[in-house]
């Protein structure tokens, strides 16, 4: 199972890098979304996929059955953060598109000298 997950994570990172290297701003944002998904899955996989019972003390469940709660807590936090950052990024992209009149990163280069 870890092997499959590793391939999935690798594929997500690959797709994210490909998208982030494109010129269109919206593709870049989707790329960052995929990148953070890959990182979240990585935490889950690295924490170990063993254990099926929820990590709550209950009758008839031994300690070895519990899933590791820490990676899940970390992922939840990371998801909330990436949700906030992605939504901010979308607002920013929209504002930038309105102000600059383009979503092409090639046209957004330049320094303060050539405004």
């Amino acid at each position: 199972m870890e092997i499959i997950m590793s391939f999935v994570i690798g594929f997500l990172f690959m797709a994210a890098v490909y998208l982030m290297l494109s010129k269109s701003l919206i593709r870049i944002i989707i790329g960052t979304g995929l990148l953070s998904h890959g990182a979240h899955l990585l935490i889950l996989t690295m924490g170990g996929l063993g254990g099926t019972a929820p990590p709550v003390v209950a009758d008839g469940v031994s300690v070895s059955d519990y899933a590791d709660p820490l990676p899940q807590a970390l992922i939840l936090t990371a998801i909330v953060i990436s949700f906030a950052v992605t939504s901010f990024f979308l607002v920013l992209a929209y504002r930038a598109y309105q102000e600059l009149g383009t979503d092409n990163m090639n046209l957004m280069r330049g320094t303060e000298d050539n405004d």
């Binding site: 982030m20 701003l25 870049i28 960052t32 990148l35 953070s36 890959g38 990182a39 979240h40 990585l42 935490i43 996989t45 690295m46 924490g47 170990g48 820490l70 990676p71 970390l74 936090t77 990371a78 953060i81 990436s82 906030a84 950052v85 901010f88 990024f89 920013l92 992209a93 504002r95 930038a96 102000e99 600059l100 957004m108 330049g110 320094t111 303060e112 405004d115």
Partner: protein, 493 residues
């Protein structure tokens, strides 16, 4: 009061939440944000006394004992950095009032500054590597808000790049945390310091250490990863620039210091030598930039990168002189960078441009400003008895005691380049034929000038009275050199 070390994080958070209620009432915004910074400062001073008297303070959130709960730890290094950050934020708030503009003040400028302080203080205080990530994100969210605040075209353009770089580095951070967790099974820094020496495969840990160096290097702007900094920092207005330049890169530097002294010490021959080499390259790259540009903001921005290199070079030596020098230089650099940005900001406002070629002759109309700037520039370059000197002296001494003596020579030689780059501003802007200036009201001039002078004054005191501050720096260095003090305070067994 076991929660005292959380007050520098909670007070600005509370006031920032209150400020959200009435964005349009500017006078109230100003008063409350200044009051928040003052209250935070007072709590930090109490904390400083407490840490000095009783040693390292630790509290575990929600009463979940370490290493299971999130630990917040305040040792001397944390307190000193929190103190500097709070002082700078206080002065930035004062400096913002005349310069930032009514429109920005009405759209949540002060809450964003306070949220930034929450993130910075939290990152300095936390004792958990994932919690460090969370506080990084808090301060990054506030910095995204500040960097795009006002919505001018260059700001929008640069903030997209800034955001993208930081999103990528955050994803790398999460990935690095995942690897660290899979190898050690813990994320509490003190617990990591206990567990890592027990692990025999140092190879994988070295890889993880370098990954963390990359992650923190993005924030700290070390050699190959500083590319985003000059453009991004050039876009926002001066008060925001001063805040960023003084605080944000230093958080990355702090994270490197903490991780590389507390637990990534299993393969010093490789990791710390790498850090030393990168530090030297960072200094050189910064010097080239600082000399190449004719823009006052750019020159000081590249000086941030130089300072990061100097501090990390001291840390890479892993001996007493090197680390204490780096800590002294870190505190000095936060204060002097804020002061320099304030002064340069006044110069840019007076001339209406930040291009050095269009400046000149300010010495006749604003002599005091000229002399204060000269003192700050000398302090930046480390001319005795100003505050840059003791730190740099110790770093150089540490370099000669360590394996990388050639690095010390580079640090010494580049001090001259730093001086040259800062003096160029003095020569071009203050000497020469007077050029047309933008008329500036006396009142708003003093509103900008007084915070800058006080900050320069603090750095002068820090330099002249270095003997008084050295016990604090010694205390901070002692914890870094003997991780067992830190571990005992957190795990309390």
């Amino acid at each position: 009061m076991i929660n005292l070390l959380l007050f520098p994080i909670l007070i600005p958070l509370l006031f920032a939440a209150i400020l959200l209620f009435f964005p349009k009432n500017i006078s109230l915004q100003r008063i409350i944000s200044a009051a928040a910074a003052v209250a935070t400062l007072i709590s930090v001073l109490f904390l400083l006394l407490k840490v000095k008297a009783d040693g390292v303070q630790a509290v575990t959130l929600g009463s979940w004992d370490a290493p299971f709960g999130i630990t917040m730890v305040s040792d001397m290094l944390s307190v000193l950095l929190v103190l500097s950050a709070t002082i700078i934020t206080l002065f930035v708030i004062f400096y913002s009032m005349p310069t930032i503009g009514i429109d920005r003040e009405k759209s949540f400028y002060y809450p964003a500054v306070l949220f930034l302080l929450v993130g910075v203080n939290g990152a300095f205080t936390t004792g958990d590597i994932f919690n460090l990530f969370v506080f990084f994100e808090v301060l990054l969210m506030a910095s995204y808000m500040l960097i795009v605040h006002g919505g001018e075209k260059p700001q929008l353009r640069e903030s997209i790049k800034y955001l993208l770089v930081n999103v990528i580095s955050s994803a790398l951070f999460v990935a690095a945390v995942a690897f660290l967790y899979s190898v050690t099974g813990t994320l509490n820094m003190a617990d990591l310091a206990v567990k890592i020496p027990q692990i025999e495969e140092t190879g994988i840990l070295t890889v993880i250490a370098v990954m963390f160096l990359v992650v923190f290097g993005f924030k700290a702007a070390i050699f190959p990863l500083y590319f985003w900094l000059p453009g991004a920092y050039h876009a926002p207005p001066i008060p925001v620039l001063a805040l960023f330049g003084a605080l944000l890169t230093k958080v990355g530097v702090y994270a490197i210091i903490r991780t590389y002294t507390l637990f990534f010490t299993m393969n010093i021959a490789f990791t710390h030598e790498l850090l030393g080499i990168i530090a030297i390259l960072t200094i050189l790259a910064g010097c080239i930039g600082a000399l190449a540009y004719f823009d006052v903001k750019k020159i000081i921005i590249y000086n941030i990168i130089i300072a990061v290199g100097v501090i990390l070079f001291g840390i890479a030596q892993m001996n007493e002189a090197g680390i204490e020098g780096a800590l002294f230089y870190l505190v000095h650099d936060m204060l002097i960078k804020a002061a320099l940005f304030f002064l340069v900001g006044i110069v840019a406002v007076i001339f209406g441009t930040s291009n050095l070629r269009e400046m000149g002759g300010l010495m006749k109309t604003y002599p005091v400003l000229g002399w204060v700037y000269l003192i700050a520039a000398f302090g930046l370059a480390g001319i005795p008895p100003l505050s840059g000197f003791p730190g740099k002296l110790l770093i150089v001494q540490g370099g000669f005691e360590g394996p990388q003596f050639w690095g010390s020579i580079v640090v010494l030689a580049t001090s001259l380049l730093v001086l040259l780059s800062a003096i160029r501003i003095f020569i071009y802007a203050f000497w020469g034929e007077p050029v047309k200036t933008v008329p500036l009201k006396k009142r708003s001039y003093y509103q900008m000038f007084v915070p800058a002078v006080i900050l320069v004054g603090i750095t002068v005191i820090l330099g002249v009275g270095a003997e008084l501050f050295m016990p604090l720096i010694n205390g901070a260095g002692e914890v870094l050199l003997n991780p067992s003090i830190y571990i005992d305070a957190v795990l309390k067994e």
